[in-house]
């Protein structure tokens, strides 16, 4: 019986983790402007923590959330207030903030017990607007619409001050987050979430309290987002309501979708893909293109982004992870064409 949990090919995981820690050194030796690339990777790392949590909620439990930027915002502001105004150490905020955000998740999870699908997506979107508004309303603590300067992270006496240090902190936490998410998915909890997504009746008939686990899903997802929020605030050193636009929530869903709904590795891949594409590849493409023709660069960038997204959804609905699985199976069974393997 042993080994059910190890049926996947896990031997690549340590190699991947080592690669994650080595890549900044490679970057540094390869390019002089490594700080710019590191910053983008850091951003992807923070978003990764959030999208993994979002995947647990939207991909696994099937509860659509268009308000995850709001959770990120609550996490960022809570941590900023706790550390800078209440004087809590950063390590403690790293524990308390996710719990607080998780509780906020419960608050929005409560309507989710009655509202479904489309309606839930738009309700969470409304939640995003409400949070943004409340941040402005509590301007004595949050700095209102002018934004808030945040101190640097101090982890066990080390001040994490530059992109280099941020990278190692963020990716350590990101790896932890991914491992935790994998544990959740591979355990009883993951089964329950998927059962709620695919058949509420079957779940209930198996003795699963749907309300409890939906709330739990929101709580866990909120915790992930809160964790990302803490890192977001203390590595960017400035937060404002403009950071947490409704469009950001949409981007998070896009990341999950492009990666492949209902797969933790998919969420990670999708986040990397979208962040890198938006901040590196499209600008590169645009830069080379604008040398030859006159273009309104900004809109062109948005246009390409939208186009890639649309093509992805139409032609590759299983996402990047699904693509990878298909490819793997294709090579495994090479002479035979397992076309119907993933229908």
């Amino acid at each position: 019986m042993k080994g059910r949990y190890d049926d996947e090919n896990l031997k690549w995981i340590p190699i991947l983790i080592i690669a994650v820690y080595l890549s900044p050194f490679l970057l540094k030796s390869a390019t002089f402007s490594y700080k710019y690339y590191l910053y983008i990777l850091n951003m992807a790392g923070i978003y990764m923590i959030l999208t993994v949590g979002l995947d647990l909620l939207s991909g696994f439990t099937g509860l659509m959330s268009l308000g995850h930027a709001a959770f990120l915002a609550i996490g960022a502001y809570t941590s900023a207030i706790l550390v800078d105004q209440a004087g809590l150490p950063f390590e403690l905020s790293l524990i308390i903030t996710p719990v607080i955000v998780g509780l906020c998740g419960l608050m929005i999870g409560f309507p989710a017990l009655r509202i479904e699908g489309m309606y839930l997506g738009l309700t969470t979107m409304g939640f995003g607007f409400i949070v943004k508004r409340l941040i402005i309303a509590f301007r004595d603590w949050t700095g209102g619409s002018a934004g808030l300067q945040v101190s640097k992270a101090t982890l066990f006496g080390f001040t994490i001050s530059n992109d280099w240090n941020n990278y190692f902190m963020i990716y350590t936490f990101a790896i932890i987050a991914i491992i935790v998410a994998r544990r959740i998915v591979k355990s009883k909890l993951g089964r329950v979430f998927m059962a709620i997504r695919d058949s509420e009746q079957a779940a209930q008939a198996s003795g699963i309290n749907i309300a409890k686990y939906k709330m739990l899903s929101f709580f866990i997802s909120g915790m992930f987002a809160g964790f990302a929020g803490v890192l977001f605030a203390h590595t960017n050193h400035f937060i404002s309501t403009d950071h947490f636009d409704i469009l950001l929530s949409v981007y998070f869903i896009v990341m999950v979708l492009v990666g492949g709904v209902g797969s933790i590795y998919g969420a990670v891949l999708g986040t990397l893909f979208i962040v890198l594409m938006e901040n590196m590849f499209i600008p590169l493409f645009k830069d080379t293109l604008t040398q030859y023709m006159h273009l309104e660069a900004g809109d062109f960038q948005a246009f390409i982004f939208g186009l890639i997204m649309l093509l992805f959804i139409i032609f590759q609905p299983m996402g990047l992870y699904g693509m990878w699985l298909k490819m793997r199976i294709y090579w495994k069974l090479f002479p035979f064409n397992p076309r119907k393997r993933f229908t």
Binding site: P111, I115, M118, F127, V254, E296, P317
Partner: protein
């Protein structure tokens, strides 16, 4: 100090005008949702494209006619309507057909990416500088019973109600409308019953873009300046559509008008008397929406879907 409800009539009338705009956009959502169960996040963008296209026609035709007159506006409106119908067919081909059986998730994302594409494409073609649209009704206003309303607003209200009545009649009384209803209930069964489902989808998207374009044409002069931020009004029409209950045509109109009135009154009378209302002015519609959904999870006029076990 004046009493609480002085001049609230004016606010309500203006709220109805504002709400009619939301209602028109919400009607676009509703039409598509009713027949295809797709929620079109790009409806605001369709409206914006309509406004730009109409602007283009107006400038072209006025150049030909040597000035602005009633004929120019009529011709431009006709041109925009033809454009809307073609546009609907295109959207049906690129959004609806490839994504018919995908989960809600993908469809929402597809329409969102369509929204991004439309917005950036419009800006690329028209340039980022705001345009100055001209109202066919000028600055004329009508005064009645101590209440002032501009002719443009009146046109928007009338248009919203006419379109609602038209579509309500269409969906409940005509053969095609009933076919559309059947398609929304079960596309496969409808196809087996001999309903040309493909055609139904195409018509629905054409109707929706038509409504979107007409609302864009009407709304543009009201905005004073026309730029791509106009599309964000689509976001404000969402609570309206949900409040009424997605898929209900009278619900879209009533939800829209309710939202408009709530917004105007909260910005006016309410925030005049209660200072804290100012803090929640722009989210009051969302708060109302969430409260309503907690009580009626399918909106005011929505019908709960029964899932068979």
């Amino acid at each position: 100090m004046t009493s609480l409800f002085t001049d609230i009539n004016q606010e309500i009338v203006s709220g109805i005008a504002l709400g009619s705009i939301y209602a028109l956009i919400a009607l676009g959502f509703t039409l598509i949702y009713k027949a295809t169960e797709v929620v079109n996040f790009a409806q605001g963008e369709v409206m914006m494209v309509g406004a730009y296209v109409n602007f283009f026609f107006v400038t072209q035709f006025s150049g030909m006619a040597g000035g602005l007159n009633g004929w120019v506006f009529t011709a431009a409106l006709l041109g925009s309507i033809i454009f809307a119908l073609l546009f609907g067919i295109i959207l049906d081909y690129i959004i609806n057909r490839p994504l018919k059986d995908e989960p809600v998730f993908s469809i929402i994302m597809a329409t969102i990416s369509l929204a991004i594409i439309l917005r950036s494409l419009t800006a690329m073609i028209a340039g980022p500088i705001s345009l100055v649209p001209v109202s066919p009704f000028g600055n004329n206003t009508i005064k009645a019973g101590g209440v002032v309303i501009s002719v443009l607003d009146l046109a928007i209200i009338i248009c919203a109600f006419i379109l609602m009545a038209l579509f309500f009649f269409f969906f409940n009384k005509t053969r095609w409308g009933i076919a559309m209803k059947a398609t929304s209930a079960d596309a496969e069964a409808a196809q087996l019953m001999g309903i040309p489902v493909k055609k139904v989808y195409r018509y629905v998207w054409m109707f929706a873009t038509l409504v979107g374009v007409i609302s864009g044409v009407l709304l543009a002069p009201r905005m004073a300046l026309l730029d791509t931020t106009m599309a964000y009004l689509g976001l404000k029409a969402f609570p309206a559509a949900i409040l009424g209950g997605f898929g209900s045509i009278p619900g879209a109109i009533i939800g829209g008008i309710l939202m408009g009135v709530i917004e105007t009154v909260s910005m006016g009378t309410l925030s005049f008397h209660f200072n804290w209302v100012k803090e929640i002015n722009d989210i009051i519609v969302w708060i109302v929406l969430i409260v309503v959904l907690m009580i009626r999870p399918d909106g005011l006029f929505g019908i709960a879907k029964v899932k068979r076990v």
